[in-house]
Amino acid sequence: MLTPQGLQQRSDLLQAVRSFFIERAYIEVDTPLRLPVLLPESNLVPFTSENWFLQTSPEQCMKRLLARGCTQIFQICHCFRKEESGRIHQPEFAMLEWYHRGWNYVDLMQECEALLSTLGQRFPRMPGLDPEGMLCRGESRVSLTPPWDRLTVADAFWQYAGVEVDEALKSETFDEVLVTAVEPNLGRERPVFLYDYPIELGSLARRNPNNPRVAERFELYVAGLELANGFSELIDPQEQRFRFSLEIERLRAMGQNAAMPEKFLVDLASVGETAGIALGLDRLFMLFMGGDSVAAAMPFIFEEL
């Protein structure tokens, strides 16, 4: 719930995010929220709308726009994920997603650095920043000045949990180790990019040519908070069809319906080398506005409706 003052802060941040991308020659797009088929992702539960779905992310339509020849696009939209609610989750939330043709995930990391440090300089008096411009959350005081840290998933698991990633995957404890042992240590002094995820955890990301066990995927962490997820996009329709088929199998095993997004796969052939990223805007605003939960940065949370 936001006061008029909080709404003003949120509005200022939204405008600044827009300006950042417009100034960098991105075009803003607004794609449909309601879709007949979703990209199959086994850990997301969508809301249905008649016999269609509310989007869990704008990825599908945005990549189809890239196939039409767009080179730089961004979108600020709402996404819907059933059964996600907690201190930093809401079933309906604001997403910032952007794509850049010709880039890879390393380029996107640098753009993340530019985005957040620009916001920090533009709004030195936001309640989440201290007088020295450091972002404060819990015990963390985070400097937004680039360059930030970069850490592979394998190194992070070994360093913070003493666990090999393959071991964690085999024992099906990857998520648990990540959440309980790794995440709390990430981005305490500077934001950190956790990168090169096991290939099975990046079904829309390109395989790293130098290390085929991992996908070129990263997550941005600030003060222990997961903020954004970026890829070098997988653009090979055959490989994508195969990865989707694995997700569909998992979904069906859980008793959920899933279909192959055929139009998407047709368009994917024309997308070209691209990097793309999704950033949870409510979480970003929560950090700048000094809140402890996303509720502190959102006009309404679902419990208030």
Partner: protein, 187 residues
Amino acid sequence: MYTASDLRKGLKIQIDGEPYIVTEFDFSKPGKGQALYRTKMRNMITGIQFTQTYRSNDKFERPNLEERNMQFLYVQDGEYHFMDTVSFEQIFLTKEQLGDNLNFLIDNMEVQVLFFGERPIDITLPTFVNLEVTVADPWAKGDTSGSDTKPVTVQTGFQLQVPPFVEQGDRIQIDTRTGTYITRVKE
């Protein structure tokens, strides 16, 4: 049955035949990962606490818990006897089961007794109780020590801080959730 997505602070669930209450709860879901329901729970019989992480497909039985109005009758050999105010049935709980509740429990007090099946496992006291002050230092008028409270002992043996004007023999109202003084009461 409850599923993991029903978990929240205060929820009571049954695991391995015993009732538990969720005392802390946090939802997490790493990007592209599974939903994790991290909980801290207390066994409602033994009081033992533990932390556990659950996933979406985990299910829990509802414990058969029931609260009944009962009156405290007497204590004998460490057993505290209560009587159902409707059926006159009598049961007892042990000193260990009652724990800090004993700080405020007096004869004839009406309380809520929690049953797990047939078994009494806990009580809930009235939020406010009136107890007699049995030990209090006299109020030294003109005391300039600056202290605005003083310690007293009430009839159950419980000690608490009260304003200096409270005297031995007074009855005071106490909040049983916090053990703090509320006001002096006239009988």
